[in-house]
């Protein structure tokens, strides 16, 4: 029980000090898990890999998996609750005030400056995914422009999946979940089954 509370507390801190994307919490997770002797550094690396490979918010996946590995279902629930608790407290308090002052002239002014920035942030977040999935050879997160050699080395299968996804989203207006399912199936066919057939 005490150990459960300690895990909850550890993930509470992780949730509290992660601002912005879930990836910002990796160093903190490593420190808490390894420092408390709950996991080795290699296991933490495994947790992060699995959390990335499974659907769902990265932070929740990490919390569930870390809790499950160290203390079973109880640990999973404790860690998930712990990582969400700071948000529950802070976001609800802020929401209370935010929706209250939303229509104030200066708040509207601030929002008119914030909205374009958020759109730009989303636009910018496309780049790492493009670099990871279309140019796996290129160094990640570094220069924003791939060299000509890298452009030529693009996998035609990746381009095909990308093109099909765009068509389904923008032309056929499919639901995002359907598009992801189709792209997953196409991925298995092109990246796994096709090499088996041609090998």
């Amino acid at each position: 029980m005490l150990e459960l509370l300690r895990m909850l507390w550890a993930f509470f801190k992780i949730g509290l000090f992660t601002i912005g994307g879930g990836y910002a919490m990796i160093p903190l997770i490593t420190r808490e898990m390894v420092g408390n002797g709950w996991m080795t550094a290699a296991e933490v690396a495994d947790v992060i890999a699995i959390a990335e490979m499974t659907p769902g918010p990265f932070a929740l996946n990490t919390a569930t998996f870390a809790g499950m590995k160290t203390m079973g279902v109880g640990g999973a629930v404790a860690c998930t609750f712990g990582v969400m608790l700071p948000s529950l407290i802070i976001a609800m308090l802020v929401a209370r005030f935010f929706f209250h002052f939303q229509d104030h002239r200066l708040v509207q002014g601030a929002l008119s400056g914030i909205r374009p920035v958020v759109v730009a942030l989303i636009a910018y977040s496309i780049w790492p995914v493009v670099s990871l999935s279309l140019f796996p050879g290129a160094g990640h997160g570094g220069a924003a422009f791939a060299g000509i050699a890298e452009l030529l080395s693009v996998d035609w299968r990746a381009v095909l999946v990308l093109a099909v996804s765009f068509l389904m989203l923008f032309w056929r207006k499919w639901h995002p979940i359907l598009v992801m399912a189709a792209a997953g199936a196409l991925g298995i066919a092109l990246f796994r089954l096709l090499p088996m057939l041609t090998a």
Binding site: L106, A120, Y124, V129
Partner: protein, 199 residues
Amino acid sequence: MKQRIKPKFAGDVKKMTELFIITLKLGAFTFGGGYAMFPLMEREYVQNKKWFETDEMLDILAVSQSLPGMISINASIMTGYRLFGVLGAFVAVVGLSLPSLVTLSVISFFYVQFRDNEYVYAALQGIRLAVIGLLVQAVVKLGKPGVRGAFGWIMAAAALAVSLFLDIHPILLILAGAAAGILYTIASGRSAKGGGQDA
């Protein structure tokens, strides 16, 4: 002047059940970082249910990004709170985390096989490509109401340029956007010719 901001649909059990189902979907079908969840949120909350305007969605995302904790969790709490009050926030959080809890608990028993499975890896390669399409769609949809007028375009371009060339935390960009927006509102309120060039 609005007095007290009340939840949009306080006590509407049918709509709350729908919120629960939407957050289950968000939890089960978000791949990658918090931004990848936006297209799904836009589709469900703005397009399908019409519970929010695109503007409101953008504001919630901006605030969620600036608070401690994970963006996806903060955004779910704020949407739930805005719709149904405190109970809504809890419903949203349980819905969002339940898929992670179940999936990761199951996977934790055979995660080595899962991690090294080539079919999983191939499907993930495909899904990542679809996520690019989803993010582009989010930028287009959120950009229409979010980036308005010359001021909006300048802000978006400046934010994009700064993220491309400087390693700056998103929160600083959002704060700068808020400051610029407030200055612009004050300036354009005093004289017809107002110029806000802060970025």
